[in-house]
Amino acid sequence: MSRETQINSLIMVGFILVPLWAWMTDEPFIITLTTKAAILALAGIGLNIALGLGGLVSLGHAAFFGIGGYAMGILASHAQSYDPILETPFLIEGTKSMIVIWLVAMITSGLAALAIGALSLRTSGVYFIMITLAFGQMFFFFSISWPAYGGEDGLSIYVRNNFPGLNTLDPIQFYIIVFVIMALALFLTARLAKSPFGLALNAARQSATRVETIGLSTYGLRLLAFTLSGMITGLAGALFADLNRFVSPTMFSWQTSGEIIVFIILGGTARLFGPVVGAALFILLEHILGGLSDFWHIYLGLLLLLIVLFARGGIIGILAGREVAHD
């Protein structure tokens, strides 16, 4: 087992033991914190497909996170008020079923990613960064100025949505759902990275010319990666909204986009577990530093600066050595 695999296994064990211990000692708050870390990690796992594997620095992933959140908010709010979303030409009702909500969240955020990607991928480099940021901001302003679903104030859902056979209001049971999804996403992205598609996408990051010269379209590869990436981040958004039982335009804000990137970089770019480590560290810092000082973002900023300037492999890079594993 390589050093990185050992570290990754340890992290997974941590994500099992910490909530287990919290459950046994009756510390629901710790479980909720771990749940939050796992959901944010999932958002980062999504972005990492575009950023780590594809080299696409998207500063607009809050759009997909928010769309996932609002998919949950809109469906659940219609279900709780028994007011159909659409009556003509056909009836669409709200739902409290998590599975349906996840599907809707992934489809809508995937479509948004497809549209944003199709436009943004016509450019590259800084243009791409600025354009994705701008499109993210577009959703932010839209969510504020569209009054039907709470506008600036957001939307509250009274009861968490349902999952067959589980009591989702019990923190540990909700955590199990989230953990399984995160593990599944990790498994799938690990397979994706090694697959022919992953090989081509990763090569396009290193040399677009090479990939074009062997007859593949970098645009097509990147657009698909961006869409998959948006779908997973969208799913994370739906879970995040369910965790808080609340959605608001904050999910769309550019800070959210920035933070999702920060998870990846704190943990280590292009590392499978980078976003998981990064999100866990972020939550830990927020909890510890946030308790010490109202201005904990200063310390986060300083830490981030140090990592970018001096430790570019992130935490996993420091622990496992800089070389990304090749098999």
Partner: protein, 306 residues
């Protein structure tokens, strides 16, 4: 809608446009010359506004406040360039994004720490307050009119600086060929610091000028920064002319859409539905404009490079 109201909105759009230009010009220069994407440019806007509000509060002089905004933002810019930014020129864009994102966190929280979470207010000086009557009987706030004039003057000044002065020649050379200007004996790291500080000063000035018609608060810079990004995408990276035209386009589109779209929709909708649909669509319009430009010209209206 009356023509007078329309004229007023056009002036509002122009005013937003010229202020955006002050932001976009610095961003586009820094990108054109150093190849750096600077998210913390919005923080310099905020620094300018806070410096102005603090000095105006202490001295009561608006001009001193503006001078303080220029000086504080330029100094903050130069300091940040010397300490951090210059380590990023050779890095990839991802590192630049992250490091400057970290700077935003530090600047924002630092400002909150010093000034508290409550907004400050910077008032318009006596001699610039109140409306003025323009030809055609349009009543328009003198201060906003002054902003337009100041913005346009600075635009002219920048064009002269770039086209006529020694510094401008060096900047243009830096955009075209970095090795060349180093070979010509220009101290490139000094040039970079100057360009960065110049961009920072413009952003700080914009922050102070806008601060007098908004509240001065933490986080005020980022929405403007993102609008300035839209401007640059539309105008083309590295082009001052593109930044000016993009700024005016974005300023006018954003302002006029907010007024005209609800009116337009009220022709065939109830007033309240028209107001919400109109304003929601208006909030998206500049991004739609950006998308259209991207489809037609991926490098922006005046951009040469991808």
């Amino acid at each position: 809608m009356s023509l007078i109201l329309l004229a007023e909105q056009v002036l509002n759009g122009l005013q937003l446009g010229v202020m955006l230009f002050l932001m976009a010009a610095g961003l586009t220069l820094v990108f054109g010359v150093m190849g750096l994407i600077n998210l913390a440019h919005g923080s310099l806007f905020m620094v300018g506004a806070f410096a102005a509000a603090a000095v105006a509060g202490a001295t009561g002089s608006f001009l001193l406040a503006l001078a303080a905004a220029l000086a504080a933002a330029a100094a903050a810019g130069a300091l940040v360039e010397l300490l951090i930014i210059r380590r990023l020129y050779d890095r990839d864009h991802l590192d630049q994004v992250l490091a400057t994102f970290a700077l935003i966190l530090i600047f924002s929280e630092g400002t909150r720490w010093v000034f508290g979470s409550f907004p400050l207010y910077l008032s318009i000086p006596e001699y610039l307050s109140g409306p003025i009557t323009l030809p055609g009987g349009i009543q328009y706030p003198l201060y906003r009119l002054t902003l337009i004039a100041v913005g346009l003057l600075i635009a002219v000044g920048l064009f002269l600086l770039i086209s006529r002065t020694r510094l401008g020649i060096q900047i243009r050379a830096g955009e075209n060929d970095r090795e060349m200007i180093a070979a010509l004996g220009v101290d490139i790291s000094k040039l970079y610091t100057i360009v960065f500080a110049l961009g920072a000063a413009l952003a700080g000035l914009a922050g102070a000028l806008v601060g007098a018609i908004q509240s001065v608060q933490v986080g005020m810079g980022e929405p403007v920064l993102i609008l300035a990004f839209v401007v640059i995408v539309i105008g083309g990276i590295g082009s001052i002319k593109g930044a000016l035209i993009g700024s005016i386009l974005v300023g006018l589109t954003d302002t006029l859409a907010g007024v005209l779209l609800p009116l337009l929709f009220s022709q065939f909708m109830s007033t309240s539905a028209a107001a919400s649909t109109g304003s929601a669509l208006a909030s998206m319009l500049i991004y739609i404009l950006m998308a259209v430009v991207l489809i037609m010209k991926p490098t922006g209206l005046f951009g040469a490079r991808a």
